[in-house]
């Protein structure tokens, strides 16, 4: 039997580099859907084990969409999960001297924003956060979600509109 081809996913360094590049996005992707860190972590494990088990069948350039698809399927199988509660890492932007009133106001705004985000339909929230937090381009999100770029634009538009309405209580 001939040795595995150089650029194969079964090669440890190729596999590792795929993991380093995409595991965080897979984690965030599922987290935005579920709102559960543990489940998102598990999904990352399962998706990459599947990739390893099928490493000889998946070309390196297809590996990205392969793990996204697997992750999405795993998510679908546990769709009946509990209500989404999202937490975000604390704001890391530099602290400036600000008046207590301003800080309070900002805090309130942030809480409202988090509530509004949790209340968004799953597909809008996932799309919106992949773009805002992970900086994914619309085309890339369209690829992950298996829909058109236009559908992603629609979701972004609606997400912004709904968030504003929720926050301002319209």
């Amino acid at each position: 039997m001939k040795a595995i081809k150089e650029e194969h996913v079964c090669k440890d360094d190729v596999y590792a580099s795929i993991f380093n590049t995409y595991s965080k996005t897979v984690f965030n992707y599922i987290y935005y859907k579920f709102g559960n860190e543990e489940k998102a972590y598990d999904v990352v494990q399962e998706a990459f084990i599947k990739l390893w088990e099928n490493c000889s069948k998946v070309a390196p350039d297809k590996a990205k969409s392969y793990v996204y698809t697997i992750a999405n399927n795993l998510y679908l199988n546990v769709l009946k999960a509990e209500k989404v509660r999202l937490k975000y890492a604390p704001d890391t932007s530099a602290v400036v001297n600000e008046s207590p009133d301003f800080i309070l106001e900002e805090q309130e705004y942030k809480e409202k924003l988090e509530r509004a985000l949790a209340a968004l339909p799953e597909n809008q929230r996932t799309t919106f956060l992949l773009n805002r937090i992970d900086g994914k381009k619309y085309a890339e999100i369209a690829d992950m979600e298996g829909v058109s770029v236009k559908a992603i634009e629609k979701r972004m538009h609606l997400a912004l509109k709904t968030l504003r309405e929720q926050i301002e209580g319209i």
Binding site: V44, Q45, A89, L113, G146, E153, M156
Partner: protein, 302 residues
């Protein structure tokens, strides 16, 4: 302003004129703030190093089996062939069906791989092949579901009573014991029942009760009433109404001296039990007794 202009704005894709116009609008300030605020959001920490370590362990476990085979070199060929068959059949069967089901008093919504939507009513199940979905949009249904089908290839719903095929539309299928109903809310669906094909345009429904087929118009709505937590019936034998009540509230129904074949027209709430009991009993002129998780419908004494 062009379609989805908020998405275009975030992506700096608005033309100068559009941007100027948007900046003048009274909402602009709040969208700007929203953009600022979401700039600072971050996802929770993901410990990549730990995930990699965990993964290595799991990965080696799955590799361990392969190494074991090497120890029995002379059987290796046979074992490998068997393993291949095993893996192939596992992959095949493992990927054949996604199954999603609901219990009594439960409901769920599923988004299919092509973004078609399915809402599954109580005590129902759908299964489909995730892997072959792009080639074949085929769903097996037990119970009741409302479908919003994305445009594309033929979409088929198979039930024990008959099959329903469409290209892209919205329709409801209910298949219970002795009862089969298809209602089309948008587009055109084709129903095959007893090897006969029936075309059902929007606004029509087909009901088969105990083998007897009839078509009728449906109320002018966009979706079946159960989506809005109401079960609706038009000239349907009482026993099917009581079955639905059982499914919606997870309550055992018994009857005494009642003709359950009498036809019922009306609706009941799927959220308010008392109200639902009254909505069923009053028009049917029967009484009911609710005890814990059981309800008895009985005839009024003259």
């Amino acid at each position: 302003m062009q379609e989805n202009y908020l998405a275009k704005w975030l992506n700096n894709e608005l033309t100068e004129e559009e941007l100027a116009k948007f900046k003048e609008s009274k909402e602009y300030a709040s969208y700007l703030k929203l953009r600022e605020a979401t700039n600072n959001l971050a996802a929770p920490d993901f410990d990549m190093a730990k995930a990699w370590e965990d993964l290595k362990k799991n990965k080696d476990n799955s590799k361990g089996k392969v190494i074991k085979l090497h120890a029995y070199k002379k059987y290796m060929g046979i074992a490998a062939a068997m393993a291949l068959i095993f893996v192939a059949s596992f992959l095949y069967y493992g990927n054949l069906d996604e199954k999603i089901s609901t219990q009594y008093a439960e409901r769920t919504q599923i988004v299919l791989p092509d973004a078609s939507e399915v809402q599954l009513n109580a005590d129902s199940q759908i299964s489909y092949s995730e892997k072959k979905w792009s080639q074949k949009r085929d769903i097996a249904l037990q119970g009741e579901a409302f479908f919003k089908v994305a445009k594309g290839k033929r979409f088929t719903v198979t039930t024990e009573s008959g099959t329903v095929a469409v290209l892209g539309t919205q329709f409801n299928v209910e298949n219970r014991e002795g009862y089969f109903e298809v209602a089309c809310y948008e587009g055109l669906v084709s129903v095959t029942y007893n090897k006969e094909e029936i075309k059902l345009p929007a606004g029509n429904s087909l009901v088969v009760i105990n083998g007897e087929l009839q078509t009728m118009a449906i109320p002018n709505t966009k979706e079946p009433s159960w989506i809005r937590n109401e079960s609706n019936f038009k000239s349907i034998p009482l026993k099917f109404v009581l079955d639905e009540f059982e499914r919606q509230f997870n309550i055992e129904v018994a009857t005494e001296n009642i003709d359950t074949d009498q036809l019922f027209t009306g609706s009941f709430s799927n959220t308010d039990k008392e109200l639902a009991l009254q909505s069923i009993s009053t028009p049917s002129q029967v009484k009911f007794k609710l005890e814990g998780n059981k309800v008895l419908f009985y005839a009024e004494t003259p």
